[in-house]
Amino acid sequence: MSSVSVKNLVKTYGDVKAVNDISFEVQKGELFGLIGPDGAGKTSVFRILTTLLLADSGTATVEGLDVVNDYREIRNIVGYMPGRFSLYQDLTVEENLRFFATVFGTAIEENYELIRDIYEQIKPFSKRRAGKLSGGMKQKLALCCALIHKPVVLFLDEPTTGVDVVSRKEFWEMLGKLKKQGITIVVSTPYMDEATLCDRIALIQNGRIMSIDTPDHIVQSFPKPLFAAKADNIYSLLQDLRSDTGVESCYPFGEYLHLTLKEDDADALSVMRIAGRNHPEGLEVKIVPPTIEDCFIQLMEKA
């Protein structure tokens, strides 16, 4: 049995189809990522699965329980960390944690093992009001509060948005440890580089899933050779390449431009020939493995 099962879910707000016929399954113990920009429909899916929002149509179950009929049971076995900080700002760190433990009929001490690694990091501030914590610490406290009743499934809605690279890395290390303890984790993120840290991902845009698979498989299914090119004047290289009829798509990617050609079996030489037309200085061309972000762009352009 899957831990989370979603079938043909639809949710509309006025004319906007926020969730447009979405289906996916998450296996027990899996770390599953919903990857997509703001407005893709991620939060609506989370709110439906955590029984906080009713879908227009379609069905969903969490641990075999129906999100409509069995909402009470679901609420007891899931942990939910919403995208917006939702703890009590004027309670201290410890009070927040105790509050959430009590609401779920347990005590901090009972499940302390589960949160130990994370909580120890914020323990020096246990008497501080939650509203006075930094972004990184708030995020750790919210995770502790979502875990304190030892949930079977953990839903994390954009836990790393607006957080710097160092804290993001630490957060994903924590998720790795929780996964080892057998907790099923469904996480969403707009950062494509975090996709590779999930077991499987769904790339989601405008309420639809464009692709769903392991990060490796998604990358392997990129349809064409992908090239990286750069020159001293990268902006004029970009304009040159975009105006060339042999180029299918070309966009900036970090220090390089990434591009594909219209012909299917192009090699670096054909790219060199096109890019070298105006003799840019410092020209460099190489073939590169696509990233999840390249795949996302390719799928968006195809749509």
Binding site: G36, D38, G162, V163, V165, G254, I297
Partner: protein, 253 residues
């Protein structure tokens, strides 16, 4: 421009800029210069002091000590002149959702003292460039986030400021729109507008001419992305940032 420096025209100059809150030095003696038309990435971990520094440079807060000029104007004595000569946009605040696209443009143009006929001709031009002819009379709140951010940027440079400050302008935006946004930044820079930008996307740091990385209130590194990667013996900006910021002592935002 202010004075002296030959040839190079400087858009922002900071010398030992410091901002102290009680016994806490949010910004601790930072010094750097940004050239006209440069795309300058202003990076740092959460709590490093970026926002405080940016508020001073936008004329919204006084420094405790040190010197700084923005577009040639002094941050202590000429805050109002600074405000007239810069544009500002952030992920959190950009446009009024309950005004139409045209009304937003009119409003911002008016606030910055652009004349009525100018507003009319420039806004028509802008709407055509953005391909928003059909949406011009729609409320901004109805636009998808990506469109909103692109429009917000255009509005931020509508009065042709010398410098535009962008505070995480692309947060949460899809990867295609994010790149279209950077096309607009390149274009603005090619037109001589200085771009001062913060971001958490490290690939975007690479699009900047130079970047600075703030750690605990200080500028710990400042150079072109290529030279920074060389210096830290790595080929990703992620790693450069990680090496610099993991030493941070501060935790506050």
């Amino acid at each position: 421009m202010n004075t002296s420096i030959e040839n190079r025209k400087l858009s922002i100059v900071c010398k030992n800029l410091t901002k102290q809150f009680g016994d806490f030095r949010a910004v601790d003696g930072i010094s750097f210069e940004v050239e006209e038309g440069e795309i300058f990435g202003f990076l740092g971990a959460n709590g490093a002091g970026k926002t405080t520094a940016m508020r001073i440079l936008c004329g919204l807060s006084y420094p405790t000590s040190g010197e700084a000029t923005v577009a040639g104007f002094d941050v202590y004595r000429q805050q109002e002149k600074i405000k007239r000569n810069i544009g500002y946009m952030s992920q959190k605040f950009s446009l009024y959702d309950n005004l139409t696209i045209l009304e937003n443009i009119e409003f911002y143009g008016g606030v910055y003292g652009v004349s009525r006929p100018e507003i009319r001709s420039r806004s028509n031009e802008l709407i055509t460039t953005l391909g928003l002819e059909k949406e011009a009379k729609k409320l901004v709140g109805e636009l998808p986030l990506g469109w909103k951010q692109k429009l917000a940027f255009s509005v931020a440079i509508f009065h042709r400021p010398k410098i535009v400050f962008l505070d995480e302008p692309t947060g949460g935006v899809d990867p295609v729109t994010r790149r279209q946004f950077w096309d607009m930044i390149y274009e603005a820079s090619a037109n001589g507008i200085t771009v001062f930008v913060t971001t958490h996307y490290m690939d975007e740091a690479e699009y900047c001419n130079r970047i600075s990385v703030m750690v605990d209130g200080r500028v710990e590194a400042l150079d072109t992305p290529a030279r920074l990667k060389q210096r830290f013996h790595t080929d990703t900006m992620d790693e450069v940032f990680y090496q610099l910021a993991r030493g941070a002592k501060r935790q506050s935002d």
